[in-house]
């Protein structure tokens, strides 16, 4: 039915069902009428400027892709309450969802969305790729992951591990989907511990071929996105055994399906089955039964095997060689950190818009019911998460920009920051979505309202591309190494923002009036005090354990409590510093004032929530009470800006959900499909 006759139908239904005018009607109370929050809320800063700060780059291209998805029937547009919403039909079977993901990709391919994603050479093209991937992820996580596998994992492996001959042969075909790639790293028995994988590759000198084998069940490749249905090729990670010597993990290109989709000989593939989310991704398992591949299929940027079987590598150290292999995973972690924040934005935009139009309970008899967001407790639930999302959004941009400018010298920083942000932002997202889902009450349970369903779609982010807990441990371990290096060489700390360790320790004032609590200077000092002390304590504890004869690795593991605290302290301090930088670069005015308010909310909420501040005595109990009180005041100050702050996310209406708009109309009898 076209729109006009549909509308007429709706109106007719109204007409035939409505009571006649003579019947006395109940006088509507405010809670029964939907009133758009835009009518009551005002805007005190330029939301489009704020969006520029948040999205950071390629705004027009982002809007182009949003528009492409809204205008295409493939993106499942549905009209509710006078608006169009796009979201996948998650009620489809796993097989149907997978086919839809692929169809959407075919459409975006035809429209030229992926042009330059692998053949592009400039930073501008790389930024555009990131922006478009982020927008694809706003529609559906499966869509983004399917693209991530093709372009960042498979394509990235060829770019980073491969050399000219691989680039020429594979990159353009990958960009055009002539080749569909996947990334076979994880095994049943080994995930985050990539070094322990058990797939084995040997070299047949006479045939000049490698032979890849899955020796036993725990070595089967597992969770390989794209493997179950679509991928024609994979980059297989395997131990390389040359003349009986294991040279460590290497990457090989293996064809797993022919052009018609038939599985190749000596390859066995099984499905990972239905999952709690991401069912638009065909995760599969792969067994290699002595599969033979040409010698040229070794991705040889780090190491090569000569035709007569000699192992050659520019990097002699096995650990460094391994680190070089993991480089492409950094891009993945950058993507995940950024995508987690975009997901939190969707949740908050929906929950806050709903809280600005949904009322519950009157305070006094015969009074209108109260807007959810006018309850101080509701503010406390959502607004600190909003401020944190802003803070992390700026840090996600910061990380992306460092990644763009990457040099070998920056590798450590990128690795540590991407690990810290990936872990803390994905945790933040899950927590935010849960809070938003509860804040929407029963409506949060409806898949069409997105917030609840997003939890299961995004849950995977806490463990893939490195388990969050493992990543956080790595941060503390790296900080400990920095500590040792500074101590041993009697050199000042340099890098990772640890320079504050070199100066005298800041002092937290005994009295914390509002002006102090809200000063960036104080906030940074407080975060420095915490990080400094935790690093000192962590290092001392490990050194003491070692002095008692414990192995270093064992000592590190035993000190996990301090390690966790330290990891969080590091991550939060980086986020605060990035926020301050954005704030300082903004011209004076209402936007800058808004940023200051959000930054204080971020910093003070972190201080309120992290037990470290009280546990280790950085704050007195009086101080902690002052912080807590200030958070409540900040909530009431942010409340009038809540709508403008979520509008600044720049998420088109179609990517939010019916409860974010006229949820009365969207649920009216006339909108039911009769």
């Amino acid at each position: 039915m076209d729109r006009v006759s549909w509308r007429t139908q709706v109106l007719k239904n109204h007409l035939t069902q409505a009571p006649s005018p003579e019947t006395p009607s109940l006088s509507p109370t405010p809670c029964l009428n939907y009133s758009p929050p835009e009518l009551a809320e005002s805007t005190h800063f330029d939301t489009s400027e704020m969006r520029k700060l948040l999205d950071g780059h390629n705004l027009q291209e982002r809007d182009w892709l949003y528009g492409l998805m809204i205008q295409s029937k493939l993106f499942n547009p549905r009209r509710l309450g006078g608006r169009v919403f796009v979201s996948p039909d998650y009620n489809q079977s796993m097989e149907q969802q997978r086919e839809m993901t692929m169809k959407r990709i075919d459409y975006l391919l035809e429209t030229g969305v992926f042009e330059g994603w692998l053949t592009g050479k400039t930073v501008e093209e790389e930024l555009r790729k990131f922006a478009l991937l982020e927008v694809a992820g706003m529609f559906d996580h499966s869509l983004a992951i399917k693209l991530g596998v093709q372009f960042f994992l498979w394509g990235g492996a060829i770019q980073f591990f491969g050399t000219e001959r691989h680039h020429v042969k594979w990159l353009r075909d990958t960009e055009n989907y002539v080749v569909k790639g996947c990334f076979a790293m994880t095994e049943l028995g080994h995930g985050s511990n990539v070094r322990g994988i058990e797939t084995v590759t040997t070299y047949d000198q006479r045939a000049r071929e490698f032979i890849i084998n899955t020796p036993w069940e725990s070595a089967q490749k597992y969770w390989i996105g794209g493997a179950a249905n679509h991928a024609t090729h994979t980059v297989a990670f395997s131990q390389l055994n040359i003349n009986g010597i294991n040279q460590g993990v290497h990457a090989f290109i293996v064809q797993i399906r022919d052009a018609d989709g038939n599985i190749c000989p000596n390859i066995r593939i099984a499905d990972c089955g239905h999952k709690i989310g991401l069912n638009g991704i065909d995760n599969g398992r792969i067994w290699f039964d002595n599969v033979r591949i040409p010698r040229e299929n070794l991705l040889n940027s780090v190491a090569d095997v000569s035709p007569d079987g000699e192992y050659l590598s520019a990097i002699k150290d096995r650990d460094q060689r391994f680190a070089a292999f993991l480089a492409p995973l950094t891009a993945g972690r950058v993507n995940i950190a950024v995508s987690a924040i975009y997901s939190a934005k969707i949740g908050l935009a929906i929950a806050i818009r709903y809280a600005l139009s949904r009322r519950a309970f009157s305070i006094a008899p015969n009074q209108p019911e109260v807007l959810l967001l006018d309850y101080p407790s509701h503010q406390r639930r959502l607004l600190p998460l909003l401020a944190k999302t802003y803070a992390m959004s700026f840090s996600a941009n910061h990380l992306k920009m460092i990644y763009m400018k990457r040099t070998p010298e920056l590798n450590k920083t990128i690795h540590i920051l991407s690990s810290a942000f990936k872990a803390s932002f994905t945790w933040h997202n899950m927590r935010t979505l849960q809070e938003c889902r509860e804040a929407c009450g029963g409506q949060g349970l409806k898949t069409e309202n997105r917030v609840g369903h997003l939890k299961s779609e995004k849950d995977v982010q806490s463990t893939f591309e490195g388990d969050n807990n493992v990543l956080m441990q790595q941060i503390s371990k790296t900080l400990f190494a920095e500590y040792l290096a500074a101590q041993k060489r009697k050199k000042p700390f340099n890098g990772l923002g640890l320079e504050h360790m070199n100066g005298p320790c800041s002092v937290i004032p005994q009295q914390l009036p509002s002006t102090v609590l809200r000063s960036g200077h104080f906030q940074v000092d407080a975060f420095h005090v915490r990080e400094r002390d935790l690093l000192n304590c962590f290092a001392e504890e490990i050194l003491q354990r070692q002095a008692r004869g414990e192995m270093k690795e064992h000592a590190l593991l035993s000190s996990y409590q301090l390690a966790e605290d330290l990891g969080q302290a590091f991550s939060e301090r980086c986020v605060l510093e990035n926020f301050l930088e954005v704030e300082e670069n903004s011209p004076a005015g209402s936007l800058k004032d808004m940023l200051a308010l959000l930054r204080s909310m971020y910093a003070l909420t972190c201080m309120e929530e992290d037990a470290s501040f009280l546990r280790y005595g950085y704050l007195s109990t009086e101080n902690a009470a002052a912080v807590r009180k200030e958070v409540a005041i900040l909530c009431s100050e942010l409340r009038p800006h809540a709508l403008a702050l979520v509008s600044s996310f720049g998420i088109p209406d179609a990517f939010l959900s019916p409860i974010a708009f006229n949820w009365v109309d969207a649920n009216s009898w006339s909108s039911v499909q009769h």
């Binding site: 006009v4 109106l11 009518l39 291209e61 809007d63 949003y66 030229g112």
Partner: protein, 383 residues
Amino acid sequence: MASFSSSSGQEDEVLVEEKSFVRTLILNRPKQLNALSYQMISRLLELFLVYEKDSNVKLVILKGKGRAFCAGGDVAAVVHDINNGNWKSCEIYSRKEYTLNYLMATYSKPQVSILNGIVMGGGAGCSVHGSFRVATENSVFSMPETALGLFPDIGASYFLSRLPGHFGEYIGLTGARLNGAEMLACGLATHFVPSAKLLLLEAALHGVDSSDQAIIAAIIGEYSELPMLKEQSANHRLDVINRCFSRRTVENILGALEREATNKADDWILASIQSLKKASPTSLKISLISIREGRLQGVGQCLVQEYRMACHVMRGEISKDFVEGCRAILLDKDKNPKWDPPRLELVSDKMVDKYFSKVDDEHWEDLKLPPRSNLPASAIAKL
């Protein structure tokens, strides 16, 4: 504002007919194809505001005298002002016109526009935003702005972007003409009534005593027909249109059309390529972005954005294509505008971005739209 006196003071340029609860407004400047003079816009705005408050008015009908519904804004007067350095009065004109568009888009009472003839530019602006648009076999619709060095304004970034697929980009960039059947098929018109039945339709509408949209829809429905689309119609080519006009940039769109043309020589594709090559490169680029941005915004924001763009176009600080286009098409009629920059690749992103920024003039202000108590879903501002 000397130019506005070009409208004849003697005769009313907007005629008003009152029939019980119905007001019929007739655009009465037939020699100029009912092009909207400043006086007409002011009068329409005034009347619409009065009728909204008047409980004795349930329905507003808008139509044109002669062979046009309305051929657009009074471009000749605007260019005259620009040439005299008087873009202030152009800005006042645009403000009024866009405010009228916004009022119609958020109007609480039904508006029936009878489009029995030419509907171009500003003519679309004072009809498409209203609730009912009745096309006939005489309807000719077009947004010809890119050929004039302008861009589709009057809220077109809102309604063009909401046509099926990427039809809006096609209409907005090429200025392609649509007939009544095509208008109905793409949703620009809500009904098609043969012109022979218009008198009967109007008579029936004159009996309306309610603002109920369903009642009005039912009345128009009684006289409506489902016209056949021409075989050559662009509406049959939505696949090609989507394939080409969904592309990221104007250059990509042209490239895609040219690839289609090499695969299959086709007059329609060649005509589209020709239109794009004739249009102002700057206009094409800003129009594409305007439609794309408009797709994600409420109608109010669309108008605010278009107002910024229009002010830049009229001031001519980035490009003077508007004056040149009007010279070549409307005044000298040599149909050979000398666009500057002359080619797409010479229009930089930086130039394009400027059209979307505020005008750098302390006396200049963004368009302020009147607060509306009744905001339909389409009008809710976001971002």
